[in-house]
Symmetry: C2
Subunit: 332 residues, 2 copies
Amino acid sequence: MKKLINDPDDVVDEMLDGMLAAYPDRLRRLPDTQVMVREDAPVDGKVSLVTGGGSGHEPTHAGYIGDGMLDGAAAGGVFSSPTADEFEALIDACDGGDGVLAIIKNYEGDVMNFETAIELAEMEGVEVESVVVDDDVAVEDSLYTSGRRGVCGTILVHKAAGAKAAEGADLSEVKRVAEKVIDNVGTMGMALTSCVTPEKGEPTFDLGDDEIELGIGIHGEPGTERTETMPADAVTDELTETVLDDLDVEAGEEVLTIVNGMGGTPEMELFVVNRRLQELLGEHEIETHDAWVGDYMTSLDMEGLSITVCVLDDELKGLFDAPADTPGLSVQ
Amino acid sequence: MKKLINDPDDVVDEMLDGMLAAYPDRLRRLPDTQVMVREDAPVDGKVSLVTGGGSGHEPTHAGYIGDGMLDGAAAGGVFSSPTADEFEALIDACDGGDGVLAIIKNYEGDVMNFETAIELAEMEGVEVESVVVDDDVAVEDSLYTSGRRGVCGTILVHKAAGAKAAEGADLSEVKRVAEKVIDNVGTMGMALTSCVTPEKGEPTFDLGDDEIELGIGIHGEPGTERTETMPADAVTDELTETVLDDLDVEAGEEVLTIVNGMGGTPEMELFVVNRRLQELLGEHEIETHDAWVGDYMTSLDMEGLSITVCVLDDELKGLFDAPADTPGLSVQ
């Protein structure tokens, strides 16, 4: 399998430098780390938001650093967690004195290392709270998690909590908003192809020419069902109905949706799926407040997508509509 | 080859409806056409910008409709030109009385059908000017063109001319800016894999597991050279040096660069390439004013990328920095 890389051992380091070279006025890389922060971090007078996790999910994580979203993010190796030391350096660099919210995707390594870092930061007097995102409705436990996996719904936690922090809300309020999103969001993914990691250079798993995998994770972890290929509308219905059932969404409610490409999926196909998604929501008399379509949380070169639904109230609507200016998401 | 589509005959229609469902407040589709325009078209008091071409290059073309860029775009079938009738409907819907600039990528079908449409619109009293973008430095003539192909540099024409139109400049001034970009921009692409069209369902051309194609077009047209796979830095050097030679860029000049993914390329790899691109420009003492990295003009699911360089003066810098708010590009 061919890739546009140099030495696989350098790929994360070179990616981060390439990102920095694209956004030198917005981002800053902490020396001798894989931690990226706002160029002007720490920002005074607001709660800071930090996150992190394995690389290979770009624009997640550092792509959401900027006004109205994150203050910083730690990048691990491809599909592997950052160390506790890197998470601690991240927290220290972003703390402006008004407290830090750590947004953690539910993977064992991320949770363990972030929690260690939080303890260390608290010993140094930093006020830190954390939330764990577990929006993947496909599986209860998985290869890398006890409990549900954290996937694309995490972006909505960054967005809503980031907007709340930008309003000047205190740490407990920002955390409350993050938890509200987590309570109201669900995601399910599928894949047409496996991803190929730079190190291995071969598909993580095998899928036949006439097979797709439903309920896939963002690291090529097994899903819930391997089936024959289906038309886009049938795939959309399967994913969406599973998410709606899980969230128990009722007619008359308003939602924000994401059709998220896994990295190798043409935008054309994402829009074909969004067409059916919005049609289906209409059949359920569920109203779409906003529909995002694009590559938000990827899995290297995997072909496939996930569908995220977040049930809204007036507060969340206002926070999702608030301005944001980051490399990966812009709301004007 | 698997795709997330329904009937291949419906893919463009369903894609456009899915795009409309994502941006109902921004876009409007002209009834019984594949033409998309601003929701509030025609906009009075400014020159209107229109474009179009084959589908499969998303977010090109309709993704750049919005404040500071395009007023409308016609979508053909996958890799095929819109008809003259559709181009004419586009011009009619976007004309607000201050003239229309048609931005045409240099493909024979696009040029012929757009020119016919312009003649028809002029007979109805619409003032129309046009420019033809031919930024691909790889080949002099190609499968679908006499002269160079129009590729990713076209986005910069949309951006600069769109910003000039938003300032209230007249049609001749907007056209002058578009031509200035065309005179100063060059692009070269490469592919790791072929694209697969929905209709054919198989690779457009064959590339071995250890081969890449340099100088590729955005429809899988042959490039200039098929070589063994190379490290990302060597690919970057080859593409960039060819573009710099063609543009005759000198030390001390300022440029805007684009590392453009072809649709199936992970963002990680685009940033790895951007790292070397910016390093190389530094070695040449060429200064980067802005570096864009992402999927701007794609070729369905092709893995590969193109590198675009545009030489800037103060006017172009100001126009590229000006605000834009479209689904595919946002400048705040």
